[in-house]
């Protein structure tokens, strides 16, 4: 994040609806950066300002080029910004077929290149699995198909930056799952930087590399997803129910008899319901704080398969509630555990105290794997 040419530098201030927006953040022009926050915190407005669809006092430069600079009086109109925008609703042009929609932006893409290899029509069509839909009318597509076409249309306009505004929120759960896997494939193959707006921490954990946490029009944190998720003080923003951390582990073997997969996490073993991936594959696991229990001795005669030795790093008790949030170092990674304050007192939990973190295997559903 030192070279201007590789960052998005954005700052906007102004009034929207009932509150003041005032944010200032940098994001690398690579990987996926999530703008995360509750509904109505201003994240969509920020994205619209970046696309030039909404104008608010501030400054914006992308890859070293000023798109908005109020001091110099620069404001590049939306159609001259090299962004692809995927709206919450697919918003396909109903008067064009799928092919017509896909080529609309491609035909109008600036010819000077965007510093990246040109996006190939066939590659995008195959990656998104929409070849069979090319001659259909948008009204004949399912919700998931429409959103895939919308993503393809944005990509084919050769953007320097892809903006996605909660592209999954209008979809049902199984369609979401399907689209997420397409997004992951895109992310791997095309290397296009993405700014991803979401209020769903599970989605963010699965897709994003970095995140900017927003609350009531202001930025409260930003950094790599793993680090941000470990911060106990952000709990009000990241949400009680969904709060958790991200662990990175590699596949170490399969137990076919019991349909389990063993993972290695810095020397400790995790057992999860079988997934189809070769040994050595790196996986992201999301572990919610509410799914982790703590013990001060290694438990015996217990059904829980995952017992990880670690050490308490931080405890945050929540006054007037039954609970406390704890952060546990398990050697190379950290877990959050949500336990009762009574347990903290009885087990004499305190920073530095060795503990065992217990996680049921069922916790790792497909949704938490990436």
């Amino acid at each position: 994040m030192t070279d201007d040419a590789d960052v998005i530098d954005a700052a906007f201030a102004g009034r929207i609806g009932g509150f003041d927006l005032n944010v200032d953040f940098q994001a690398p022009l690579s990987g996926v950066t999530a703008l995360f926050g509750a509904s109505g915190c201003g994240k969509t407005t920020i994205l619209r300002c970046i696309a030039g669809l909404h104008r608010m006092p501030g400054r914006l430069s992308v890859g070293g080029r000023a798109w908005q600079d109020d001091v110099a009086g620069t404001f590049r109109p939306a159609h001259k910004r090299r962004v692809g925008y995927v709206f919450q609703e697919p918003s396909l042009f109903p008067h064009l077929t799928v092919r017509g929609n896909l080529t609309y932006g491609a035909k109008r893409a600036p010819r000077d290149g965007n510093g990246m290899p040109p996006v190939d029509f066939d590659q995008v069509v195959d990656l998104l699995g929409i070849r069979g839909l090319l001659d259909r009318a948008p009204v004949k597509l399912s919700g998931g198909e429409r959103q895939r076409v919308a993503v393809g249309r944005a990509l084919l306009s050769e953007p320097r930056l892809l903006l996605m505004d909660e592209p999954l929120s209008a979809l049902d759960r199984s369609t979401k799952e399907e689209i997420l896997s397409y997004f992951e494939a895109l992310h791997q193959e095309l290397k296009i930087p993405i700014l991803y707006v979401s209020h769903d921490i599970a989605e963010v954990t699965r897709l994003a590399d970095r995140m900017v946490v927003l609350s009531r029009g202001g930025k409260v944190a930003d950094g790599p997803v793993g680090e941000v998720l470990e911060r106990l003080d952000l709990q009000p923003m990241t949400g009680r129910f969904e709060a958790g951390v991200m662990l990175t582990a590699t596949v170490a073997g399969q137990d076919r008899d019991f349909s389990l997969t063993r993972l290695d996490h810095h020397g400790q073993t995790l057992t999860i319901p079988a997934i189809d991936a070769p040994d050595g594959t790196t996986l992201r696991l999301r572990v919610r704080a509410r799914d982790v229990s703590l013990a001060i001795q290694p438990p015996t005669g217990i059904s829980i398969r995952n017992v990880l030795a670690g050490e308490v790093v931080e405890i945050r008790e929540e006054p007037d509630t039954a609970f406390a949030e704890t952060l546990i170092d398990i050697g190379g990674g950290r877990l959050r555990a949500r336990v009762t304050r009574q347990a903290v007192a009885e087990l004499e939990l305190a920073p530095g105290r060795p503990v065992y973190a217990l996680i049921k295997s069922i916790t790792f559903d497909r949704r938490s794997l990436g």
Binding site: H79, S91, F93, H95, Y104, A137, A154, S157
Partner: protein
């Protein structure tokens, strides 16, 4: 057998007048409809009301003011002076101008409704796909508003064909110049030439039916997307 040769000139004149008026209305009415649909100005409804006035105004009132405006002392007289005429009244050009005012609401309203119906989103999408506002207007707004244009054009044309009061006030009854169908029918009835009146009136009835039916059929087929 009555002489039917007198029937053709008013028919031809009426078709000419309606065609020229419809084209003029599409050219003038579209930007007005666009502005009414997209502008956030608070006084735009006042402009919309002015455009809609002919809907409630007696045609003779509109015709009276137009006659004054087109006379030798009005702006129309000055305009006519450019090509050496004294007045726009009692000319074909005058009829076109009068018809444009008279049929304006029938063209502007459906087009405005069509522009409003699809909202901002398609235009925003077009902008993020590198389409300039002008490009987006032609490649997105116009195709999406196609049913509105069709309705507007057909209503504008048909309404001009049926115009009577305004024509009588500003055009009079000059054969081949300002004597349109509706005036001719009136004339035939006045002079008790019922056969000619029947032919023209019956023709208008069939014309009106065919226009409305074909408009409905075409509208149904317009939904098909292009590659």
């Amino acid at each position: 057998m009555p002489d039917l040769s007198g029937l053709w000139p008013p028919i031809r004149l009426t078709l000419e007048l309606a065609s020229v008026t419809t084209i003029a209305l599409l050219i003038i009415g579209t930007p007005i409809a666009w502005w009414l649909a997209r502008s956030k100005a608070r006084w735009k409804e006042a402009v919309a009301a002015v455009v809609a006035l002919p809907l409630v105004l007696p045609p003779t009132v509109l015709g009276f003011y137009l006659l004054v405006a087109m006379g030798p002392d009005g702006p129309g007289g000055w305009l006519a002076g450019l090509w050496g005429e004294r007045s726009l009244a009692f000319t074909f050009e005058g009829l076109v101008i009068g018809s444009v005012f008279y049929s304006m609401p029938f063209v502007v309203q459906p087009i405005r409704n069509a522009f409003e119906a699809f909202g901002d989103r398609p235009l925003e999408v077009a902008a993020t796909l590198h389409a300039s506002p002008w490009d987006a207007f032609w490649s997105v707004a116009v195709p999406l508003a196609r049913p509105g244009f069709l309705t507007g054009a057909v209503l504008g044309f048909a309404h001009t064909v049926g115009e009577f009061g305004v024509v009588l006030m500003i055009g009079g009854n000059i054969p081949g110049e300002t004597k349109v169908l509706s005036v001719a029918i009136y004339d035939f009835v006045e002079t008790l030439r019922w056969t000619e009146a029947h032919i023209l009136a019956g023709g208008m009835l069939i014309f009106a039916f065919v226009v409305i039916l074909s408009m409905m059929l075409i509208e149904k087929r317009l939904g098909k997307p292009q590659p």
